[in-house]
Symmetry: C2
Subunit: 246 residues, 2 copies
């Protein structure tokens, strides 16, 4: 019995998110556990992911761990998993790790990217990985608004679960907004993110970009600790989990 660490990419389009759910066949965790059960011949498989991505959200490097009873080498495990997983889930790395390693509890930072696109043509080749905007938002205003979000705050205004009982305090230490051609990419780095938080942050910044919310109002929105005050939850397809720090 050894503990294994996995780095996983997936196109979330077809899935109900990361988390295994009774009665829902199409979840990332479910698909991965199914293959691990087949591989080890046991039903006792519990794959722990660093986070739970929403339905339709993608990942370039989700980290997960699982205790397995197998004689296969790391590369044999990777090969087996990639052979039996669907085309939209890839295992990029398999490594034996410390017994005490826990992909969720040991995560100290995460990077998410949210990709938007605008223009007179259409993003044919990455249409499943971008959110198409009707018009170009003001990036300088969004950048200005994002500065109020940096630091350790109660992000209750940006939490999709309004009945959240646990602490809604998180530290966001970097938000970068990059323009490149017809793309606008938001990068968020922090010690952790609440349910839908990156999508609500993006949705609120876009409202600033369109002039519907003033950049300076971001401080009040944050302090209100009220989901009613922030902007809409941006669509899932633009979001991608990029990296987990340990």
């Amino acid at each position: 019995m050894r503990n294994y660490k996995f780095i996983i990419s997936y196109d979330g389009t077809r899935f109900y998110g990361w988390e295994r759910q009774p009665g829902k066949d199409m979840t990332i965790q479910g698909k991965l556990e199914e293959v691990l059960k087949k591989m080890t011949g046991t039903t006792d498989i519990n794959l722990i992911g660093a986070g739970r991505t929403d339905a339709g959200v993608h990942a370039r490097a989700m980290t997960a761990n699982c205790v397995l009873d197998t004689n296969m080498t790391e590369s044999e495990i990777q090969e087996y998993m990639n052979r039996y997983l669907p085309d939209d889930i890839s295992v990029n790395e398999v490594r034996i790790c410390a017994d005490r390693f826990h992909a969720r509890y040991n995560a100290i930072g995460k990077t998410y990217r949210y990709t938007c696109w605008y223009g007179a043509s259409k993003p044919v080749f990455d249409r499943k990985y971008v959110t198409v905007l009707e018009k170009k938002p003001d990036v300088d205003e969004m950048q200005k608004a994002s500065e109020y979000l940096i630091g350790t705050h109660d992000f209750k205004s940006f939490c999709g679960n309004t009945k959240m009982k646990k602490s809604t305090v998180r530290c966001v230490d970097n938000i970068k907004i990059e323009e490149s051609g017809n793309y606008i990419r938001f990068y968020f780095h922090g010690n952790g993110f609440l349910q839908n938080m990156v999508r609500i942050l993006t949705g609120t910044l876009l409202e600033v970009g369109y002039g519907n919310i003033k950049a300076d109002d971001m401080k009040d929105i944050l302090e209100a600790c009220d989901r009613q005050r922030s902007g809409p939850t941006a669509r899932p397809e633009g979001l991608c989990m990029m990296k987990v720090d340990y």
Copy 2:
């Protein structure tokens, strides 16, 4: 009545190729003509493409032309078309052009790219635009073999239509093979390409890369003017029409 030039991108995955075909709803030309008919309120629409891509082949900049009777501006036409076309076809440019402009007859050069991928993981995000190889081919040998193909030759050995009655002489003036990470990209430039020609050239070069054909045998294969001598037709999904020169 004016002649319009169009630059079009498409993800060919869902389509039976460019060319309109009776009884087949899913062709690129068919979808475009359908929208132009709706837009102009006539059934007399004949969209001329620079070339006919095969089923499953993509394009970043297919060029086409069509005579239209409309009062709409170029950008109104583009907006209308992009609104009614499916997500996997985009009109990137619409311009009034000379009456005598003919997208097929006036084309003097074309660039195609063929993208391959190999590795222990899987290309999740561009899986529809690459051909996955079982192992890495020898790029130096493929480059060496490709040099025999440069120039004006009878490419009958590389023509998918073995009953072709017209000339099978074409000029290929550049073949470049680029490695980048786990990707190998073949670029082909020439004055025109026969049916399946880029895919058969790629399939034959890959056989060289795997050591099943010697690089120096390429000369004989070309001179044989016999489809039996060349390699298999590489899969369509790795192929993309990149540019048409006028």
